[in-house]
Amino acid sequence: MSATHITSSPTVNTASFSARHLLGIEGLCLEDIQFLLALADTYVELNRQVDKKSALLRGRTQINLFFESSTRTQSSFELAGKRLGADVLNMSVGTSSVKKGETLIDTAMTLNAMRPDMLVVRHDASGAVELLSQKVDCAVINAGDGAHEHPTQALLDALTIRRHLGDIAGLRIAICGDILHSRVARSNILLLNMLGAELRIIAPPTLLPPHAANMGVDVFHNMAEGLHNCDVVMMLRLQVERMSVSLVPSTREYFHHYGLDRIKLRNANAGAKVMHPGPMNRGVEIDSAIADDPSISLIQDQVEMGVAVRMAVLDALSRNLSNARERKVKE
């Protein structure tokens, strides 16, 4: 069976990874990260074969519970679960249509009674996924909670960088844009710091969280200065609704100062790579000429790595399910 290649991989040591849930990068140690990235590497190979199917999670039930809509993250998790043989159920619960909170716990309890093995959760409130994880028996994966964390995005970003530029330690990486509201930025700051990158964040002060400089990054307000000698530039999505609350005056002013184009990119190292978690606002935070240039943009690679990383996370957490041993004996 195709699952056998996992145990044969020399870099993958299953013994150390003992987490029950993946709620954030915070709480993981370097060994956990290395383990997940190595495991994800093996799934990249599997995903490039004609037969992409494994039976690792056969009989397992995975529920994708999205309180905030997301096409790409949800389909990435769905594909990851299906390629590992799990039964995947997608549930989209609009937060606006239901009364918040009550439904979070109530929905969690209801779903829990259906005995899923994996719950993939996205919610618009920071800490909501952690709260939910306290009420269920299954493994919970944070697919983004408010402005807090989005751990699988950070893992797939790290995997993408590693596969293109090698060891992350010592790389100079800039994260640009709406850091204030970005869970992607928070998870990446934690993860890339752990992996030894030299991190910079670039944004106007109105899009930076207070005391951002204490988060292990150098803070820049000027794009040219911030991009100087960078190896990787990670752009973040600027949500257009932010304009209405005076965080930035207009999209054209924003693009003029913080939109990534070829001129600004010249400040970075030759051969610097550009990333974006998607979906992009072309002409707001990133110029199409850069987004579509395969010699610069890693955006498509990020999407590919996303499926592999999520397979690795599902695989790793399934090994720690309370009934995992039972299953092995039965087989």
């Binding site: 918040k100 909170g101 409130a125 920071s126 800490g127 952690e130 402005a147 207070p210």
Partner: protein, 446 residues
């Protein structure tokens, strides 16, 4: 002259923060008043342990002091009786040594009409076991647009005027309120928060909030409003009390206002003296308060403010919330924590830590609020109301939220190691709370 209405509290450590009295002695109550108090009530030194004439209560050396007066209590009656009623709040108060509670007008409907003040007073008389004094709204419906009928409300029994958890953002209206209240010598109590700055913030703005991905409330949201209020007090010569202070910057503003001779006081909650923003931990909603728990420097400034007298009063900020308002993602959860039953022991931490004298702590809990509100209680003197707390100052224990008498259990102090608690509470000469024998208490130190 001697009747069974007389009760002698003997072998007490009498502490009266109003006079600085701290001496072994005895106190006699007659009916609902204190009749005599002092070290020499029983000259022979051996007080009668039983008597046909007195009812005798042996205080075993515990502290006997005026009952606590809590100036900031939210009660769900009327409108949210599932959170707390006047009856349950008063039982919680009694269990905390609090003999008078000042209740906020943030009810449904809002206490902005004389008939509603009357309702609270009658309801309290019939169901509450401690004294209940209602504050009335400063503006109709707490909407911040029209003044209430302060004169009529005061005659009906409103002890002061406040919009509770709402700030009066309209500076002109606040000026009018401070001016007009002067007609009746009424006290204006204000919650200082600029809502356009606190916006959708869930906790103190700072590095920790940034890491949790929560929107922050800057200290400036409070300080801006306090600065404005001081300017208006100067303009109107009004009587002003800052309902709850939470940060060092606001403290400096109050200090300067007092130096300028303005009629200004302020209160801090017991939890702002004891906790800081880090206690929020991993999104623990019982630590979501309004104003939010601040940085450690601010907490230390609050203790210092209490010590040097810039902060006059300690309040519980008792704000009961039901589980369905708290078992939510942090940003969606309601603010507030119950505090009547932890007000005394949490305040005593600063005495046990050696930061503040015992008489200073008790001053802020008894005679300071009494003086500010013009209440007859808050001191030990013949003729004063027999509202007393008997306090075991030193016994350590682990506080247990399940032991709360309050209908809501949203305390941030569950499992906290505390030292000192009330063993008997007396309101109007009658014992309304007596702690069961220590061994029977499940929350005893382990």
């Amino acid at each position: 002259m001697i009747t069974p209405d007389q009760i002698a509290y003997i072998n007490a450590r009498l502490v009266d923060p109003a006079t600085g009295l701290d001496t072994p002695g005895a106190l006699i109550t007659f009916g609902n008043e204190i009749q005599a108090v002092g070290p020499d009530l029983f000259p022979s030194g051996d007080a009668p342990l039983s008597s046909d004439q007195f009812q005798v209560i042996d205080c075993r050396g515990h502290v006997l002091c005026p009952g606590l007066i809590d100036m900031r209590v939210f009660v769900g009656e009327h409108g949210a009786e599932h959170k707390e009623t006047l009856a349950t709040a008063s039982q919680a108060a009694a269990a905390g040594g609090v003999t008078s509670i000042i209740v906020m007008p943030n009810t449904d409907p809002v206490i902005d009409d004389a008939s509603l003040v009357d309702f609270i007073k009658r309801r309290s008389r019939d169901t509450a076991i401690v004294n209940v004094y209602p504050m009335a709204a400063l503006t109709k419906g707490l909407e911040g647009t029209r003044l209430t009928e302060m004169g009529l409300l005061k005659e009906a029994g409103a002890i002061a005027f406040t919009d509770g958890l709402c700030s009066v953002t309209n500076s002109w209206l606040m000026r009018q309120a401070l001016s007009y209240a002067g007609t009746f010598g009424a006290l204006v109590v204000h919650h200082a928060e600029d809502p356009s700055l606190s916006l959708d913030g869930a906790m103190n703005e700072g590095e920790f909030a940034s890491r949790l991905g929560l929107a922050g409330i800057p200290t400036a949201a409070e300080t801006i409003m306090v600065e404005r209020d001081m300017a208006l007090v100067e303009l109107t010569k009004g009587r002003y009390h800052l309902s709850q202070i939470s940060c060092a910057a606001s403290l400096r503003v109050i200090e300067q206002a007092k130096e300028r001779g303005l009629d200004v006081t302020c209160a801090v909650s017991a939890h702002h003296l004891a906790l800081n923003e880090l206690d929020v931990g991993d999104y623990r909603t019982f630590f979501k308060t309004n104003p939010p728990l601040r940085a450690e420097e601010d907490r230390r400034a609050m203790v210092e403010g209490l010590k040097n007298g810039v902060i006059d009063i300690i309040v519980s900020g008792h704000d009961p919330q039901a589980p369905e308002n708290k078992r939510l993602p942090f940003a969606n959860a309601s603010s507030g924590c119950v505090g009547l039953e932890t007000l005394l022991p949490v305040s005593l931490e600063h005495y046990h830590n050696g930061h503040v004298d015992l008489s200073q702590v008790l001053h802020a809990l008894t005679c300071a609020p009494a003086e500010r509100l013009g209440l007859p209680s808050g001191h030990l003197a013949p003729g004063a109301p027999a509202d007393l707390a008997l306090i075991d100052l030193d016994t350590p224990y682990v506080f247990n939220a399940a032991s709360l008498k309050s209908r809501s259990k949203n305390t941030p102090f569950d499992e906290r190691r505390l030292q000192g608690r009330v063993v008997r509470t007396i309101v109007g000469g009658k014992t309304v709370f007596e702690r069961a024998a220590v061994s029977a208490d499940s929350s005893e130190a382990r």
